[in-house]
């Protein structure tokens, strides 16, 4: 099991290297990239926005119950927003997106592979990585980053609405303490997480799609593998970004925040 795991990790990294080399040394298909960005964004926006909205709502309901015990409802908005931005939001929305974008892309690429469309591209003398993979890779990174950021914005709205409905905190009060607690560092850490998750997602789903074998069943297997692998990698990356960010902050400020 360990060997097969290492094998997977190694071939994914080799694939990533191949993509990056192609991106650097060969011409980018800018038109294709924009088409991909447009398609992915339009396709997944409603899902992401909805997930973000509900994540914000859930966090607010949970925090409201705890904060009420201390009579600190004024801090509800700030705490819920901060927690959603730094930690829960990127994680859950990225899970959502790995189901939507990741599974879709690997199914699409896997279908192209098993119906030999990728071999056809190679037969025509074009490089399939340059023609098919790179536009998707770049497109997914850019658009998932924007989608995750948009989901985070939606989570603020969800939190505001539930703060009003559930805890009786009106919008102004909800937002009052936000600038105090949600520092630029929090927003930055949320955005860094979004960026990391986007890269992880793009790499894994293109790799799994490109290495699909064995007909319709193989496509199903590739989709399952994509969903599971991305989720594991996202959780691990989440931990690593938090940890490394903490270390960097400590070094910059000279003390633990």
């Amino acid at each position: 099991m360990i060997t097969s795991l290492l094998d997977q990790v190694g071939s994914t990294l080799l694939f990533l290297q191949k993509i990056l080399r192609t991106m650097m040394f060969k011409k980018l298909k800018v038109h294709e990239i924009f088409e991909q960005i447009w398609k992915v964004t339009v396709d997944s926006f409603p899902t992401t926005a909805m997930a973000g909205f509900f994540v914000g709502a859930i966090m607010t309901v949970q925090f409201a119950m705890q904060v009420k015990e201390f009579g600190a409802l004024g801090y509800l908005g700030a705490l819920a927003t901060s927690a959603t931005f730094r930690e829960v939001g990127p994680l859950l929305i990225a899970f959502m997106l790995s189901g939507k974008v990741g599974a879709f892309t690997s199914a699409e690429l896997g279908t192209m592979k098993v119906t030999e469309q990728i071999d056809a591209v190679r037969c025509l003398g074009a490089d399939p990585i340059q023609e098919i993979i790179v536009p998707r890779f770049v497109g997914i990174i850019v658009s998932s980053f924007f989608l995750l950021a948009a989901g985070l914005m939606m989570s603020v709205f969800g939190g505001m609405l539930l703060g009003e409905l559930f805890a009786g905190v009106n919008y102004e009060e909800y937002l009052r303490h936000v600038p105090l607690i949600v520092s630029p560092v929090s927003i930055l850490s949320g955005l860094v997480k979004c960026g990391t998750f986007a890269v992880v997602l793009a790499t894994i789903c293109t790799y799994q799609g490109y290495s699909t074998t064995g007909g319709a069943k193989g496509v199903g297997r590739a989709v399952v593998a994509t969903a599971v692998t991305t989720m594991i990698c996202i959780v691990v990356m989440d931990w690593m970004t938090s940890f490394i960010g903490d270390i960097i902050l400590t070094m910059v400020r000279g003390f633990r925040p």
Partner: protein, 239 residues
């Protein structure tokens, strides 16, 4: 979809009960997913406790209540939902591609020809296994969460397990564990229903299976988040 749900629920109470299938599926849902779920959930718990210590220090300058808060957050929310999302991608996608391939290779029609009800044969054991497995795996995941949070707070924040447990006791009830179990069971029930629905509607070819799997993951994740919201809202009146 509603027909499928109704048929499944009636199928639970009508013989033949397929015990062997049920245990096979339980093995798949429970044992084989356990490693991944526990692994991911532990990491999520570690990040949660680090981040919440960061917050508490910002708001009230001391973080003596961090373990309690983190434990509440883990038990009420994170443990159940992260587990369910992982299960939906692993188990749900697996079921959809399995049932989808059966559909396009006409094995489902073959079952019908033999006089076996495909819902009773395929969906009901999976449904029961997922409800039970989801419930159990949520509990195990929550326990693993608390343990890893305890370990990290020992090494990183300087709380001994004793302090952790004392602080946890002030916030956490036994009710929380029961509610987590209910959440796990509800999420577990959603996954096979969605997966089998899309699996049965799968169209011919590799593209169809891919699309069925994708749809399953998306719809079941959304359903889980929405159900989680509804359950959180309902339970908040019961504390």
């Amino acid at each position: 979809m509603i027909t499928l749900i109704a048929e499944t629920l009636t199928g639970v109470f009508t013989p033949p009960f397929r015990r062997k299938e049920f245990f096979q599926q339980l093995h798949f849902v429970g044992n084989k997913s356990l490693f991944i779920v526990v692994f991911c959930v532990c990491f999520a718990a570690i990040v949660t406790i680090l981040e919440s210590s960061f917050h508490m220090k910002m708001v009230i300058q001391n973080d003596s209540m961090v373990p309690g808060f983190a434990a509440v957050l883990i038990l009420r929310e994170l443990g159940a939902i992260v587990t369910a999302l992982l299960l939906s991608s692993r188990v749900g996608a697996g079921y959809a591609s399995e049932v989808g391939s059966m559909q396009i290779t006409e094995q489902v029609d073959a079952l019908k020809m033999l006089g076996i009800d495909p819902v009773n044969y395929l969906v009901v054991p999976r449904f029961l296994a997922c409800v039970l497995g989801g419930m159990m795996i949520t509990i195990v995941a929550n326990m693993a969460c608390i343990f890893s949070a305890m370990a990290v707070s020992q090494f990183y924040l300087g709380y001994t397990p004793g302090m952790f447990l004392t602080s946890m006791q002030r916030f956490v009830d036994f009710k929380d564990l029961i509610f987590a179990m209910i959440k796990g069971a509800c999420f577990g029930g959603v996954i096979p229903l969605v997966a089998c629905y899309f699996g049965f509607r799968c169209q011919q070819g590799a593209e169809g299976v891919g699309r069925a799997t994708t749809n399953t993951v998306v719809v079941s994740s959304i359903a889980i988040i929405v159900i989680d919201f509804i359950l959180s809202y309902t339970f908040s009146y019961l504390y």
